[in-house]
Amino acid sequence: MSETAADTASAPLPSGPRLSTLTRPLRPLALLLRRAAILLLLLVAVFLAVDLLPGDAATATGERGESVEERRRLLGLDQPVWQRLWEWLSGLPHGDLGTSARGEPVTDLLATPFPNTLLLSGLALALTVAVALVLGCRAALRRGGPFDRVVSLTSTMAIALPEFVISVGLLLTLSLWTGWLPATTMTGADGSITSWSMLVMPVLALAIPQIGWNTRIVRAALADQAALPHVAAAHLDGLAPTRVLLRHTLPGALPTIATGLATSTGMLLGGAVVVESLFNYPGVGTVLSGAIANRDTPVIVGAAACTGAAVTLVILLADLTRARAVGGRS
């Protein structure tokens, strides 16, 4: 699963040489523009892909007594695709994601579920960062030791498991057999989650495979750094192994680690769709499955836009970490 996804943002910024000629304050701006351009391209591609596919919202949501042609005109689907694309894109800057096939503004449809999904994936990402760093660093301190071997084995196993299989394991152990946690999510009248304990299992189910993946990256990145002369010099100076790890090895490994985490973000948001449905969590997954059945282009593209923007943000942070670490030598 994620292994492949993680290769991506690792691209040693292809525009590196060009960027290095810019003055330093401008570099973050250039990175921002580059990522924004990629995001925009993706949105256009998704919009066109959904549009070119057979069937449209008019046939999927048409009500009785209303012809498909009328419905299509009502939804504006008789306009040429370029015009619709332009209208949709020009609404983006003021937070207008268009109107769904059922006539509700997409922004309203996503307003409650998307923050819920962000909360779920955000917590899972935070947990991933913390656990992967601790496990990876400890494993790297004694390479080949018993702790390292156990961590390698368990992380390789964790990566391979689909989130719903992990969810089933968690449900059985933490809820049904021990009764520690509630099995489903209850929501209040305003669509918010009523108790924090309901977040524990969904967050764990999302985080476990990503912890496995990122622990391996942390460990590999630290091993690469450990082979460099300045780390050997620090060891020869007689510094304590922990100090060498934290002050000399880890800083150089940060760009790689940040890249791994950025790619995990996409996996977390994707896995959330499945985990949400299993735990009845009120997130974007529920909206998305309904929208896909209705072939509701604006909603699907809107959800893809929000997800893409969230991933872009994390990748941008990874870019900045890399730019900072490489300094003027990019």
């Binding site: 492949t4 991506t8 993706l42 591609a45 390789t156 196993m157 689909p162 996996m267 769709v273 449905s277």
Partner: protein
């Protein structure tokens, strides 16, 4: 990227990988003969809905009272088949394009751009889009989506592994001999990438199991009356209190399959962990 060609994997690694892959192979054989071994038909109710294990149903009944054991035996073939097709297609395409990309920097850059772009679309969202785009496509749509979305990343791995070979003496001499790009890619570079390609196949198989089962869980591929491990988890989850085995059995089957292949792949690539290296590169 190091300039030294990767070490070929040792014999002990290969043996280790075979031992680790054994559970998955056994499971595969079991699903092949499964329909013959199953005590009951996959579609007919034989006991009460969510009946506990006992009597004629060793693992109890599912939501309609169908025999869970028989459905588990029936439900693996198509899932494993989809994963195999995904893994084969992606590995083949990635190997072909990756070897060419090592010789043509322009193609290599184009692949980097594509992966940059594809990362913003979570794989599952992409599969949802493509699978629903093709109404009635079922498993074929899921497989097609997984191949389209998986190939760019896999290609990058092959291109990365092939790059050091593009500047070796034997390739230079083949260029001097006036060999064409196809000869260079497939006769000179490809034979050196055996371990990379085998490990890539393992990784893609695990990814294939992931995508096929996630799609099955979301009911994008197989449709309800069919027996499918992922779909069984989805269908029987509401009755997990009454007969947990209806959920546990298919979950264990998927876990054994994915974990065993992933461990075998990791053992094979132990000297040169593929995926992590590419991130660092």
């Amino acid at each position: 990227m190091t300039a030294t060609p990767p070490p070929t994997h040792r014999r002990s690694d290969l043996r280790r990988a075979l031992v680790l892959a054994a559970p998955a192979v056994l499971l595969g054989l079991l699903t092949l003969c499964g329909p013959l071994l199953a005590p009951e038909a996959e579609g007919t109710p034989v006991t009460a809905p969510y009946a506990e294990p006992g009597g004629g149903a060793p693992l109890g009944g599912d939501l309609l009272g169908r025999d869970v054991l028989s459905r588990v035996l029936h439900g693996g073939g198509p899932l494993i088949g989809s994963a195999l097709v995904i893994a084969l297609a992606v590995t083949l395409l990635a190997t072909l394009i990756g070897c060419l990309a090592a010789l043509r920097p322009g193609l290599g850059r184009a692949i980097e751009r594509t992966t940059d772009f594809a990362i913003l679309l979570p794989p599952l969202l992409g599969v949802m889009l493509l699978a629903l785009a093709w109404p009635g496509g079922g498993r074929a749509a899921v497989v097609a989506a997984a191949v389209v979305l998986g190939t760019p990343y896999a290609t990058r791995i092959v291109a990365g592994a092939a790059a050091p070979f593009a500047t070796t003496g034997f390739v230079e001499s083949a260029i001097a001999n006036g060999e064409g790009i196809l000869h260079l890619a497939f006769r000179e570079i490809l034979p050196n990438l055996r371990s990379t390609v085998i490990a890539l196949f393992g990784l893609r198989f695990v990814e294939g199991v992931y995508i096929a089962s996630m799609a099955g869980f979301l009911q994008l591929g197989p449709q309800p009356p069919a027996a499918d491990w992922a779909l069984m988890v989805k269908e029987n989850a509401p009755g997990i209190l009454l007969n947990p085995w209806a959920v546990i059995a298919p979950s264990i089957a998927i876990s054994v399959l994915a974990v065993s292949v992933n461990l075998a792949t990791a053992a094979l690539a132990r000297n040169r962990p593929l995926s992590e290296r590419t991130v660092t590169a």
